[in-house]
Amino acid sequence: MKLIESKTLGTAVSGVEFTSIPQTFTDLVLQVSGRSSTGSSRADIFLTINGDTGSNYSIRRLIGFDSGSVQSYAESGTPTQTNLISITGNGATADTFGNLGFYFPNYTSTTTKSFSVDNTAENNSSSAYIMGIFAGRYTTSSAITSIKIEPQSSNFMTGSILSLYGVLKGSDGIVTTS
């Protein structure tokens, strides 16, 4: 796994986009430690790939959170219609940040992209927490060249960190396959 780019926010911004993603890796990993400026305990996150705001996204989620029992949902549509990933908001306990982990296998392929998301927004509060796992799909034949994430109607706050890594397949010359 090799770091492609890491952004540590010195000022609040409405969204962060990784552009001109090298096409030389096999998979992509995006790790986020973030906090939204929303006054709520958490904010939904929009994921936009290749600047595509069309109805080309679908997602299934399993979440456990402060509002009741574990739940599962399926959504499809535009990035704002599949905004099911949450991150810690500024109404939560001070100095707490939520975590997102994205895995994009075979991001340069010409088939539909299937990806994985793990999410926590733990705030040392019994009334404001969420964790979830997500299956995502981006229906396109284009390679992924850019990834943008942005909190709904708010900014990523100072101190948020977003890091993009590339994973390259290969062989050590020892392990054999059949």
């Binding site: 299934r60 574990v70 739940q71 599962s72 075979n106 088939t111 994985s116 299956a135 050590d172 396959t177």
Partner: protein, 164 residues
């Protein structure tokens, strides 16, 4: 998910449909602490779950606990056991498009503990699932085999070592 460096060990992209993909001669000398297996899979034929077997052990030495988001209703959870690690319970490789599996095999070369496996499976058209599995053996993992009635052409399997 760990962010330590992944060292590529081997990869397979299927040029034709096949029922089993095996990784052999996995180093157990202590170079790596964990193994990471990334799969993107598509099936031929009827829906079947993917199995993973270590060291050719066909005994009833595998068990898992899982939780699943199917997209509606009460999310299922439970346990499964059998003669391999069942990598998926509700999801399975689709007949068109690909799903993905992220598999972490912890401390795989240890000879004093049963092996723990964490699995994430994702198919936005079917389900998202997380599971934890155990192989009831203290043997170091030197091979692993993945089985399905048929993995279709284009399915990919990449194995990485993670240095402690």
């Amino acid at each position: 998910m760990p962010t330590a460096t992944y060292t590529p060990l081997a990869t397979v992209t299927l040029a034709s449909a096949t029922g089993t993909v095996t990784f052999s001669n996995i180093p157990t000398s202590g170079t790596y602490r964990d193994l990471i297996l990334i799969i993107t899979a598509q099936r031929t034929g009827s829906p079947v779950n993917v199995g993973m077997r270590f060291n050719g052990d066909s005994g009833s030495n595998y068990s898992s606990v899982f939780m699943t988001g199917t997209g509606s209703g009460t999310p299922p959870s439970g346990t499964v056991s059998g003669t391999n690690v069942q990598l998926d319970v509700y999801p399975y490789p689709p007949s068109s498009g690909f799903n993905n599996y992220i598999v972490q095999i912890m401390d795989y070369a240890a000879t004093d503990k049963h092996k723990s496996v964490l699995v994430r499976v994702n198919d936005a058209g079917n389900a998202t699932e997380a599971s934890a599995a155990r192989w009831a053996s203290t043997a170091a993992v030197n091979s692993l085999a993945l089985t399905l009635s048929n993995f279709n052409t284009g399915s990919t399997f990449s194995l990485y070592g993670v240095i402690a």
